[in-house]
Symmetry: D2
Subunit: 384 residues, 4 copies
């Protein structure tokens, strides 16, 4: 049962993330896949208005009739929306108006949660709305990092956040025996439709690393000419390297011969012992090839996940993001949540420093295109 | 002699233009040719710091060493600069810091103007800096119009500004006789290098309209299928129409069968009797072709200009922007001001509602690419 | 044991395919994924020169030192090569010279096959070369169809080929029980590295159609507004539809309200009872969604394949092209054959009318990007 | 009076140019501005069919109803046409069929020339058709050079052609006094509409070089870092240099530290004393800037042209291609010949090695975009 307190805790966290911003930081969309912080604040709120208040709150008066149009993300079912690439040009409504919007929705949500919490369908949609907000919290932080990290003066977001220097305690490899494994979510708590439909997968025996790849290990690959040797790369990965002149992870800068990277605390030297992050699938796969190992499949990862620590980096798997055998697309707009993105993306498992507490689980399937690297991604290897 | 009062009047006008903005409006750059208002505020200030204070003010302490990099526009001579298309992503320094920058520079300028106003070269650079600021005032307004005018909720910039409804009083054609005409600037006041080097041009007799084309006249062209008939268009103009699906001037929207346009006061019905504006050179030339007339050359315009009213719309001429016979590029960074843009652009003469008072004259040469139309452009015809 | 006769039979078939061409048809590359027929003729020959004659033929004299550069396809290991998108501009060497090249290589191959046929590694490379040639025979036909089919006068390739009107005899669905299935190639004959490493896969019970989708079935989808309703489409599929203005399979043209399509015999009316072809994965998946069914996985397809007829259309599966658990990339240039393409592509199973006889088997894994449709692709459905 | 003999002489010259080609060379269109030789052969023939035979020849039977569609170049008035960028994919009709087309048209032209040569309008159109064919002869050679010159094996077109090594005999500067000059064509012979309407232009005195810039002079500019210093370049020229990585004229290759260039005789060392060619307007203007001189206007060029030799290189002027004061666009399709291209192009004066004899005159206005350089262009300077 989700209480209004729980609702409030999650909603306030979104605003806490933004509390370190200046008004100007809320506005830009430097590349299509990064949304303005302002937009995240409004869109996650719109979700509750559209899918809960309009449906369950008798006589609900819309906050502003333009907002559906402005802050719908990709639900074609709900009507027209601002093109994804143009979110950064919409300066008004301003921040103040968007915070008013949040308050207005929250005050109505307080009432409706009290009235309807006995209705299972309501509870499901509420849980989805809060998990949706948490997904946007993670994107909010990584989008803020992208915006500030591409400013040539490298502004500090928050001195107190130390996510880029996380180190791993474990070592060695874990052996997982051949067998049938149950894959997918079964428990009581919330989960997304893309992890439903538990099914059996047969796996050969494999050995998976207990630790993530570190910066120093990756620098060995770089020093060995990893970015200059096509042999390690997928063909489209190699084109990506050449066309974008890639020669280091995202946010890395070589200054006077030493590697620095932009962190949420500003520009810092790269800590060799910390977990590598901000690499694409192409880089993860090339590193594995160079190391004569491979990435785990998402099934191997799930089968082994209880035996290692995870939760600091989203871990690239070598599985494409495809429907599970028992996946059924829900009816209506909610059906657009996951299913339609199941093409040309790779699965990531685990969660990252930027993931809100309690938001992940070992069946959670995250997914990105193989060239995307602005999330806190990482590499775990399996022996060939 | 330019007094500090005069300097202050001009500088304050820039801030007045911005006084109608919310902080968020200062940030975006929706297309490369539109700059963030924030950037205009800083760049026009940087010009005084770079070309005056660093040169003339003994012991001048730079306000912020990053600002040269961030707010240089196109002076390659001065070193690295932020790529033009990425100005909208630089959220920090924020607005407050930029207003501090303006104050800091102004307080130093007060001192240096008193000390150096006897030095002719100083006076010239000061005049250039103020004219530069005035050019950016015009761009500031038209860039703001572009940003707000592409917001689907069409925000009001300032209810009190009524520039789109200006009407023309004159009628008929003016005859100008064959003869030699002196072209270019000769007087005492400030002028740009691109209008220097008075020279003689021989002109055939011609008849030029005393009035600009109105919205209703242009709507006749539209209703006659002007946008659907390649015969009226230059070949590259026709490609522009097809590729961009152009079928009306910029900011025009057909709502329930009636033409509206975005104005600085919000969305309004098009006034048929007002002067047409926001058309490209391609549209101006196609309209002239349809009307079986032509656009004037910039020399014809200048020769006839004393006989008609001008000053509400920048008027497209049929002259390419090229150096005058006696044009010499100044040495150093100032040499990049005008000369290097003399290719693939057409000359506009006159000035517009958005031009600061006293900034134009009948020898002033403005210039834009033939597809650009976010300035307050207009059409004046000459008989074939 | 591969005899020179067998070698010759395959090599001659390539030339037979080209016997219906005019010299001009050999030259163009209308889009990057279609190669000039001329290039196929030379590249398949170069493969034998590079990987067999240079290695096994003592004192072998290269036919022409430029050819390695001109006709290498994607083997980065072998050195520089002409960019893939520029193959259509290389008019010389001409066709005659390329046929000379084929003769020269064939005469040397005759000798080396006699000498070395006892060497297992030689035999493997020879088998690979011939299977490679057969792969290019299929591409040759489909590339020719693309070139002629995009000529507004729709030339006939060969009146005698009737591939677009193939009909299916079977009906109904086949039930396959839950269980462990062996996947991958085990037999004696040739197979590619991407199908090696037999492994067990657990499958739930499923029902798969005994017949492929027909033109009339697909036309129902079209008439039901299939191309206009985003609900049926993957998100990137929907963008593909909008950006490319797709509203029918490739080669289809609506003439006076009736569907025609370009066939190798010229423009013909679409036969409603024939097997649908030339659809992308996006279209196959949208059709399945509309039909409330799904595409099979490649494992389901392989497990069921003995129970239905296949071989006229490459059948899209809902499996991404990824390495099998026991896949190991071979050393050297041959290692570039398959592995590096295992990203962003979907698996097709079966074979098509254009596949040379004896070239396919039920473990064969073909693969294309989800938007590609110039192969003879088809759709087989599985019940939800 | 144009005789059929004269007609034949010109028509045969087109075929002579092609006599050095292999069939494959007739097909490709490597970039949109280069047309397939095959297309030139057919298009110049189509012009006679469309504008003469269909109009003047009673009962004329069209050779092939597809040809109007396939070989119309840019006359929107005449109906649909193949998109300019797709000419290289149209392999059929083949060369043989196109030569048949030429014969068919020529045999009908023989008759109609005898019948109609007394009709002045017929004579004008015939003259236009022949001048049109001559324009395409020049493009034919330069397009062939482009096709063969971008083949990595650098095939020889014709050993006997020595156009790249032409040297200049003259030296020094010619003084031209201030005054009124008559500009434009007046004589009896053929001329294009863009040079009509003689008009008076007032010119200041100027000094123009009697010789064209040589390879060695240009190499000085290169060695002085001309391609690396933005100061010499127009702003869009500098972007062109950076985006296309330009560091030498077209066809130049540095081999073992020595400059070679592709010529119609194959790859040769650059002759330092020969006239420079294959430079863009951007390069011409940058060279002039570096030399502290300027390019002539087209009026200066015309006024001075009787005092120097010209005819080996098309000479870039600093004039934009715009209508003369008395220019009137002819009615109908012929009106599309010149006028619609009068934007974003610069005027070249003179003629080149590739210009057919008798085709040019000192009032002829050629025009290209400022980045185009596949014609035999050159540089003549004027003192500042």
């Amino acid at each position: 049962m989700i209480s209004f307190e729980h609702y409030t805790t999650i909603r306030k966290h979104t605003e806490y993330i933004c509390s370190f911003l200046q008004t100007e930081d809320y506005v830009p969309q430097p590349v299509p896949f990064v949304s303005p912080p302002k937009w995240h604040l409004a869109h996650s709120t719109w979700f509750f208005e559209e899918f809960i208040l309009k449906k369950y709150f008798d006589g609900y008066a819309e906050f502003d009739s333009d907002f559906g149009f402005l802050f719908n993300s990709y639900y074609n079912t709900i009507g027209k929306r601002v093109l994804r690439a143009q979110r950064g040009n919409i300066t008004r409504p301003g921040i103040d108006r968007i915070y008013e919007y949040r308050q207005y929705i929250d005050s109505h949500m307080e009432i409706i949660i009290q009235l309807k919490s006995g209705d299972p369908e309501f509870r499901n949609t509420l849980a989805l709305g809060l998990n949706h907000e948490q997904q946007h919290q993670e994107l909010l932080v990584t989008d803020i990092k992208y915006i500030l990290g591409h400013n040539p003066i490298f502004p500090v977001y928050n001195e107190a956040i130390d996510w880029e220097s996380v180190r791993e305690e474990n070592t060695g490899f874990i052996s997982v025996p051949e067998g049938m494994y149950d894959i997918g979510h079964t428990g009581e708590g919330f989960s997304f439709d893309n992890e439903h439909g538990t099914h059996r997968v047969f796996l050969d025996a494999f050995e998976i690393s207990a630790q993530l790849v570190t910066n120093s290990e990756y620098m060995e690959f770089m020093e060995a000419g990893g970015y200059a040797n096509f042999n390690y790369w997928l063909d489209e990965g190699w084109s990506w390297v050449l066309q974008n002149d890639i020669h280091a992870p995202l946010y890395w800068h070589s200054i006077d011969g030493e590697w620095h990277h932009y962190t949420l605390r500003g520009l810092e030297k790269v800590d060799p012992d910390a977990m590598l992050t901000h690499i694409s699938f192409y880089e993860a796969a090339a590193y594995a090839e160079w190391k004569r190992m491979r990435l785990p499949t998402e099934f191997e990862w799930e089968a082994a996940s209880s035996q290692f620590n995870w939760g600091k980096r989203w871990e690239w798997t070598h599985s494409a993001y495809l429907p599970y055998p028992r996946f059924r697309k829900p009816e209506g707009a909610i059906g657009e949540y996951n299913g339609k993105f199941m093409i040309n993306q790779m699965v990531l498992r685990g969660s990252s420093c930027a993931t809100p507490q309690g938001h992940s689980r070992n069946t959670y399937r995250n997914f990105f295109h193989p060239d995307e690297r602005w999330q806190f991604t990482g590499i775990r290897l399996v022996k060939l």
